[in-house]
Symmetry: C2
Subunit: 329 residues, 2 copies
């Protein structure tokens, strides 16, 4: 009997995240040799019979996860493989059957984010948010910058995304300090400290970068006191989730020039509503949640993770990227 | 008798380019050992007695060069050291006495421009001009990008600036093709070809970068036909001089999406006049002619070049960076 894998898409899903039959077959050719034969089922998130389909399946991959259909299924589903990293949209996890594991796609965004964050560090260092704002006002307003080497980045989160930022920083000669719930040495970070030890680094960093998941503990972390603690020459980046930032406080800090500029790839909600002051905040560059997603590699890497995780489960080994249901990341 | 060196500043000169007494003395301490004692004279470009001062001097350094005062001097001036690279503002060179040489500061901009151009290549690749334009229109408009490695940059000019761009490209895995009046191999360029062989490269490059001096031959090089020849996915950068570009044609090409975006650090005139359509052109990012200038190193490097060139002249060796008066660069 082949392993049945449900590939669950949703209406309006972007092409970059959509797993086509061709992509699934191509990835299967590179799956671990020990993986038994598999059969793919393709269904929409909106399919009314999803529960009975899930009851037949061994594994599934999805981003918009049909939580109720999983809860109501009566089968032997072993693995829900997410095609993204954040799980804030899925908590609480009471829909997950006791014998089913949930894995996210943390780590597949690293190569793209490394390049993107090198760009963002250089842009903040080179006053690009200032120049873009000056251009809007038809102002030719010079600001010079020296070499970036020797500057310091404070990176909140030392997981897949944080490590990608630290690699980018290292490639530019920028030192990285990491903030991690349980401090421990991490490659490319000069120091990793706990959240309670962040203050002196926040006050001296040239760049402050958020790569955290959104949890009750991280929500609103970047608030008025946070921005007030930063150097007025420092720049801010958010690659995590919009909810990490109190947006009104970011807007106020930029207007008051408490910080020099910001580049954010995430907002809350996404997109910002029409007329939101975020759109016109000076020295703020907004990108539409695309920083970590490489269309050439996204789906192949999700599928490789799916096959590897199913293979691990079938062989009694622990899957990669298991979501900690209590910490919600 | 000490060698007399005139340090000529001009009203409104930016601090980054201003040679203070402290900077001159500090740089002198690092001058070649063979340089005889020197005496500095500090004068303004607007000093009415400049001609008689120049008649006493052996060398001078300036950016706004007092051409008439040099023409009218009656002395033994051996060296006019420019503190910038471009000489288009000084042609024709009939003001230069026959026994005086003119040297520019080409090459001192390389380290800064390398970092800046890595940023610009990444920004064009990552659709940053599109995102900035979308933000102005309050639009959340996704565009994804893959890794930049394997892309191709066509670089007009293989001198100090062009080589800095090629080094940046190489650091990102981007291939560089160079355009040079007299084709010859140059480090970090995969090929260097003459202007007549540019067409096939212009049609296939992902990035097109101008680093040329402004001369009668290069004026208006980037015109409607030039932009029409580029790929619609390609990005354009100008680090040379504003006059290299027919700005109306650049504006039209960006509005028509004949090219994907542009970043220009130079315009003609500078700044663009109030109300110029350049300010509001979609997918165009304008920076105020600061890309190559590092405040930490600019003046020390100009002075090091000045002392080395004077030392070379006094010892019968050819100075560096001699301006070719016929080619005007």
């Amino acid at each position: 009997m082949p392993q049945k894998i449900l590939i669950c898409h949703y209406p309006g899903q972007q092409d970059i995240f959509t797993i086509t039959r061709e992509a699934a077959e191509a990835a299967l050719a590179k799956a671990p040799k020990s993986l038994p034969p598999v059969e793919f089922l393709y269904r929409s998130y909106t399919d009314p019979d999803l529960s009975s389909t899930i009851s037949e399946c061994d594994a599934m991959v999805a981003w918009q996860v049909p939580c109720d259909a999983i809860r109501n299924s009566r089968g032997h589903l072993r693995l829900v493989q997410l095609s993204g990293a954040g799980v804030d949209h899925l908590a609480p996890f009471d829909w997950l059957p006791p014998n089913t594991v949930l894995a996210n796609a943390s780590g597949i965004h690293g190569a793209k984010l490394q390049e993107w964050s090198a760009m963002c560090l250089l842009m903040l260092h080179s006053h690009m948010p200032h120049f873009v704002t000056a251009q809007r006002a038809q102002q030719w307003s010079k600001r010079h910058s020296s070499a970036i080497a020797g500057k310091t980045a404070l990176i909140y989160g030392t997981g897949g995304l944080g490590q990608a930022v630290a690699r980018a920083a290292a490639s530019l000669g920028v030192r990285s300090i990491g903030i991690r719930r349980s401090p421990a040495p991490v490659e490319n970070f000069e120091h990793v400290v706990g959240p309670n030890e962040a203050a002196p680094h926040l006050a001296t960093a040239d760049f402050v970068v958020l790569t955290l998941p959104l949890t009750p503990q991280t929500k609103g972390l970047a608030n008025a006191a946070f921005f007030a603690a930063m150097q007025s020459s420092a720049g801010f980046i958010n690659f995590g989730r919009g909810g990490l930032v109190v947006e009104a406080d970011l807007i106020a800090a930029l207007n008051a020039e408490e910080i020099s500029g910001a580049i954010i790839d995430v907002t809350a909600p996404e997109p910002p509503p029409p007329g939101s002051p975020l759109w016109e905040t000076p020295r703020l560059i907004i990108t539409p949640h695309i920083s970590c997603d490489d269309p050439a590699t996204y789906v192949p890497e999700v599928l490789a993770l799916l096959f590897d995780n199913l293979d691990r489960l079938l062989n009694g080994r622990e899957p990669r990227n298991l979501v900690n249901l209590e910490l919600a990341y």
